[in-house]
Symmetry: C5
Amino acid sequence: MEDFGNYVFIVLKILYYEGKANRILTEQVSLIFGQNFVISFQEKELNIFNSVREIIKSGKGRIRRMGADYLAYALMDTIVDNYFIILERLGEKIGDIEEDLVANPTPEALKAIQNLKREMILLRKSVWPLREVVSGLERSDSLLIHDYTDIHLRDVYDHIIQIIDTIETLREMLSGMLDIYISSISNRTNEIMKILTIMATIFIPLTFIVGVYGMNFEYMPELKWRWGYPVVWVIIMVVSVSMLVYFRRKKWL
Amino acid sequence: MEDFGNYVFIVLKILYYEGKANRILTEQVSLIFGQNFVISFQEKELNIFNSVREIIKSGKGRIRRMGADYLAYALMDTIVDNYFIILERLGEKIGDIEEDLVANPTPEALKAIQNLKREMILLRKSVWPLREVVSGLERSDSLLIHDYTDIHLRDVYDHIIQIIDTIETLREMLSGMLDIYISSISNRTNEIMKILTIMATIFIPLTFIVGVYGMNFEYMPELKWRWGYPVVWVIIMVVSVSMLVYFRRKKWL
Amino acid sequence: MEDFGNYVFIVLKILYYEGKANRILTEQVSLIFGQNFVISFQEKELNIFNSVREIIKSGKGRIRRMGADYLAYALMDTIVDNYFIILERLGEKIGDIEEDLVANPTPEALKAIQNLKREMILLRKSVWPLREVVSGLERSDSLLIHDYTDIHLRDVYDHIIQIIDTIETLREMLSGMLDIYISSISNRTNEIMKILTIMATIFIPLTFIVGVYGMNFEYMPELKWRWGYPVVWVIIMVVSVSMLVYFRRKKWL
Amino acid sequence: MEDFGNYVFIVLKILYYEGKANRILTEQVSLIFGQNFVISFQEKELNIFNSVREIIKSGKGRIRRMGADYLAYALMDTIVDNYFIILERLGEKIGDIEEDLVANPTPEALKAIQNLKREMILLRKSVWPLREVVSGLERSDSLLIHDYTDIHLRDVYDHIIQIIDTIETLREMLSGMLDIYISSISNRTNEIMKILTIMATIFIPLTFIVGVYGMNFEYMPELKWRWGYPVVWVIIMVVSVSMLVYFRRKKWL
Amino acid sequence: MEDFGNYVFIVLKILYYEGKANRILTEQVSLIFGQNFVISFQEKELNIFNSVREIIKSGKGRIRRMGADYLAYALMDTIVDNYFIILERLGEKIGDIEEDLVANPTPEALKAIQNLKREMILLRKSVWPLREVVSGLERSDSLLIHDYTDIHLRDVYDHIIQIIDTIETLREMLSGMLDIYISSISNRTNEIMKILTIMATIFIPLTFIVGVYGMNFEYMPELKWRWGYPVVWVIIMVVSVSMLVYFRRKKWL
């Protein structure tokens, strides 16, 4: 924000959701307002100020009756409101991911968390200058800004503080989610290991036993016994059942 | 909080435990008090203010003798007390989970930690405005608030600070619990790996040995030896015992 | 702390080690002192103030010559000294666990860390009011507290700050220990995996080779070769030695 | 910075990218400026001040018209601009690594993160004295520094604050990337474990079954059955298909 | 630090490297200085003050010409310089460990990190009182401390602040190293798992196949086929090659 006496020059960042790509886009808006004019510059054509325009056209609301500073405030308020919309959507996204993080920790969730983190940094980066501008306007003793606008600016400022708070909370939640993610993955690896260990621990000894009687020694008395084969089956049963009992005691089954 | 001269308007958040679902619910309460009236608005019918009503009906206590500001204070005090009840219950829940986290780190515990974290964020979010309101009332020079009420408000304020402190401590504990959880899971994976490794390391070489004498070569002198078969058993014993000794030395058994 | 003009009322928390259970217990002590009396209330019979009593009985030291405020100070000083004893013991415990954390990360160590963390939170919680009380007494302009006692209270206050600092350092160390624990467990899992992989990687291919010549096809020319069996042993040797060389190069052995 | 009345002595650190090695190098520059002179000392020959020289040579710009303090400011501004270039490059590097961290977490990425962390610490270390110097010059009441230079110094100071902010953000991102890295590696280990477990769980029981009929007992009725061999194949099919169904239900396939 | 009017009493902690054990040792030094004397007490005989003694003996330098306060400053400066030496060595150690942490994460590195952490805590603990003492001397209005000494004390104070900053940076680096360590270990476990999985996944199915034709059924048509044995080899080749192709596609090879 720069105050040139006759007019005030403000540079702000607008964040908005691009409908198709579902991504946050950023755009720079410059506002110049003097005694009885407000000029705004945008790079792309956005309909973010449409609601303000509607109000002016309809003749309702206070904007037409108040000065240029009030219109500038109304525009800034619209920008700040837009932040709330974005935060709400991000909050919903975070909630969605969090919901099935414990149940189903996919690499896609990891990617989504990473993206949200990056958007959070972007958000924080663009909200700080906003804070500076609004607090600057509020504190400034420019004759262009009337007292009733000051009150409204104070309101906008409170909203911005609330936005910063929410960003911090969401950031903390995202950090926490990574921990949950790692916990959850560790958990699943643990489950997989259990299955592998159960299968291997039961069948590897059994394979050894049947391997023994697959040997071709000429003098193996067991091979000639009438009950040799059934006895081997009994041994197999005993080994596998005792293994299962062991695993059940360990609460793996 | 807004001070309109003739009356003061306060918006607060009540948190309470819904009996059945065992969840924390949040409700907004508005208080308006003037020279000699207190009006309170709630969305749902809660019996949170019953205790105050009882005291008024019974005629005991100071509330009837004091002004409207004192009644407003009494209501706010009741709300703050409710926070303590919630914190106590959350503290108990955390203690319960913590107790069997090392012994038994289930995915359910992970989910419970996640839920508690979310409730903590909710709690922190709704206690901050409370702090603002009470500190605002205390500092305000409204004629509606008498000196003796100020002292009590100071008390309420101290309680709120205590609540915020407790929330922070509980949040730290929850963060620490995730670390304990991961440690504990790593530990168990380690245990499982040990069992698998012991079984595999003992039986895989043995299976190889018996596999050797399962080969059908025409010229395998060992197969014709009188003591071939018993010697193989001796080898098997030696291998498996030396493995067990090795594992015992590694303190795996 | 409350100053009632004629007397000062103080509520403090004593922490002490219960000899048998080796646990920290907490007890509330109330002190009331006026112009020439000090009354102390305890729930349980503790001999924490014995040392003060001894000094009074023996007639040595300054306590008998000074006022009631000095005795109150002496009692508070004893309580603070007790905190140091507890911190020292906790520090020793932490050192003991830390020592063998890298070498031997057991679940018991994890449990011990968790317990120490909880005791740390308890400690911090009960030392804060102590700080409040002492700083309150020091700043108060009560006529009951003489200048020379003020100097000593300043001393006690410095000790309390030192206690809080030590608590923070110990808490940091405990957090760091959990990281060390996880690192150490990961390390061991890694070691176990190496052993498993070495065994499996050497013997699984060998078992396959001997399995091949265990097949019962009628036309298997190798089985009739005079040197078939020794050649298989040569192959087995070559495979296992090259595997061992590979692992040595990877520095697993 | 030291102010010797007649001249001001400044020591600064320049950071620049060495073209070939793609590493950040650091160099110390000393500036001395008095009423109408600026002397700069460098250890190595760097063309960092070329742009300033060009402007002076060309006669354009304000530098020739202003005092020595303005030239000193211009040089410092060039140094600060250089920081921005470095930060931008580091930011790009971080972005590049972050991009394929989830998809492909290599040890090289880990090394790159570690290097970036170290460069960040270096950066932070050398930007702090810069801040001190500029804020010192700005606050100083030396007659050598004119008012219009003060305004520009304020600008440089704002840039430095912005640099420090960016460094902090990048540092946070790097910390977050390590968490992502660990998550991603855990994920992949999990995937590998699944494949191993699927293979082992299907084939280990099958190997056991065929092992059974590889035994050489004289009395094994199944071996003589006409349909023994096909029945074994049926059993093999049933076991492996039911395993596959089990794994599909677990969403491992 | 205590100022007794006629003399000033200072207690400081010296840290020094014990040559053989390569450990940091700590020693307490007391300084008393008055109008024209400085007395220093040490428990052990250290030659830390030798450099000061040399300067005094040689008659060079300012120490002999200045007052007792200047000598006291010189001694304190020597102590502070010693901290820098220790920090430099610790920094080198950290650099050394960091260097081969990614390439070779041994348990010894873990132990070294833990030791460095403990030394860092020790360092921080003993540098704080130093800060207190020097800032106390600087602010004190004792007649014993001349103005020119004050300037030098300010210098010492700046050095101490620099030491504290460096300690914090090194502590952060150590924390980061633990994360790198865990990442690196996870990475290696991952590599080991890959090798195990590749070997197991290729050979376990092959062992099954040869197991099939090791069965002793009387009616196994394949066993009598002229090309049965070569066909099995073809199958083995196809299976193992397709597995290798699969793993190459997964970029495991």
